[in-house]
């Protein structure tokens, strides 16, 4: 009886010592996973996921506080990438989180009053302008997050969808008839 006790205690103490030592030696600093998740997100900084930006959303996913299907700009492709990275199952978008076509903002210059409210709202500084000066969108930097539309007091900002032209045209997925038409 005593021998059994000693044996078990002995094993436990030995293993405890080894594990304690390795816990200190193999300590992991920080959370590199958050950066990996952030690298997958589309960086629109739009807040549609419910978090104030892509990095906070990545942190929440890493902490297990957020689902991976909350990012419409990333599309289904983004959810697949997150699922692969984290070893989780793919979850489709919930209701009301449908991805929209890519678009950039456009300021109607005849209506703009130069109030700078949209400039303060843009998360990537894609609006050029100053107080009482004309504001304009730098189209190549605009991510289409739509955060500039609510603050504008004269409603002069609209979203223009990016059309397909010869520079961004993609080959279509081949669809082949599997039966000869009779």
């Amino acid at each position: 009886m005593i021998a059994a006790l000693w044996v078990m205690i002995g094993i436990a103490l030995f293993l405890g010592a080894v594990l304690g030592f390795s816990a200190i030696k193999f300590k992991v600093q920080g959370n590199p996973l958050v950066d990996k998740i952030d690298a997958v997100l589309p960086q629109t900084q739009c807040g549609q996921c419910g978090f104030p930006g892509c990095k906070p959303y990545a942190t929440a996913i890493a902490a297990g506080e957020a689902e991976i299907n909350q990012c419409p700009p990333g599309g289904e492709e983004g959810i697949h990438k997150l699922a692969d990275l984290l070893g989780k199952e793919f979850v489709p978008f919930g209701e009301g989180a449908k991805p929209k076509a890519k678009s950039v903002a456009f300021i109607d210059e005849s209506t703009c009053i130069g109030c700078t409210l949209c400039i303060q709202a843009c998360p990537v500084d894609a609006i050029l302008g100053a107080a009482k000066q004309m504001h304009t969108i730098i189209a190549s930097e605009c991510t289409g997050c739509e955060l500039c539309i609510p603050p504008c007091p004269v409603d002069c900002i609209t979203m223009l969808p990016i059309d397909e032209d010869i520079t961004n045209w993609k080959w279509r997925y081949p669809v082949i008839a599997i039966q000869e038409a009779a």
């Binding site: 094993i11 436990a12 193999f26 300590k27 990275l85 070893g87």
Partner: protein, 191 residues
């Protein structure tokens, strides 16, 4: 020498723990969706099994002896749990992405019936130290081999025209069954 070779051949092919002995199916089904994850899991299990078999033999023969034989299962599990914890820490440090991909299956190596089963089989077959080690290593090699084969097949199955109801786990189970049939063909290889 030939005995050791025979042990390896028999544990990897003839008596493959997953396909013939039908042990260790949990990580086999759970981690075989991607090839990198399967390789990582195989490597981790090899480390745990080899070390575990060796440590279990030493405990069984020198610590427990014939009186405390009833403590076999208990002490084996404790040792295996410790080794798995250690492995987890090492993996988290060296490869955070593998750690994330393996997810819950890494600590579940503790409850892997193959990882406990092999040391118990060693006791039953009265293997000596070298034989126990090789048995554990060979068993883990067989496990890794089958994991990699299955992961390769599943990756290709992803792109196949599988009927809707069979997609995912169902077709994987059927494939595992067919693989098992194939591995049964090895019986009689080692007389």
């Amino acid at each position: 020498m030939t005995e050791y070779l025979l042990i390896i051949v028999s544990t990897v092919f003839v008596n493959n723990i997953v396909m013939v002995k039908i042990l260790g199916l949990c990580p086999f089904m759970g981690v075989s969706k991607k090839l990198e994850a399967a390789v990582g899991m195989g490597a981790a299990t090899t480390f745990v099994l080899t070390l575990g078999s060796g440590a279990s033999y030493l405990i069984e023969h020198y610590l427990l002896g014939p009186d405390l034989a009833y403590l076999t299962t208990l002490s084996f599990i404790v040792v295996i749990a410790g080794i798995v914890q250690f492995t987890e820490m090492v993996i988290q440090k060296t490869s955070p992405s593998l750690y994330q991909i393996l997810g819950i299956y890494l600590p579940l190596i503790t409850t892997n019936c193959a990882v406990l089963g092999i040391p118990l089989l060693n006791v039953q077959a009265k293997h000596d130290f070298m034989e126990s080690l090789l048995f554990g290593f060979g068993g883990a090699m067989g496990f890794t081999l089958v994991m990699i084969l299955f992961a390769g097949i599943r990756e290709r199955l992803d792109g196949a025209d599988v009927p809707g109801i069979f997609k995912g786990s169902a077709i994987a189970m059927i494939t595992a069954g067919l693989m098992s049939l194939a591995f049964m063909g090895f019986s009689g290889l080692v007389k």
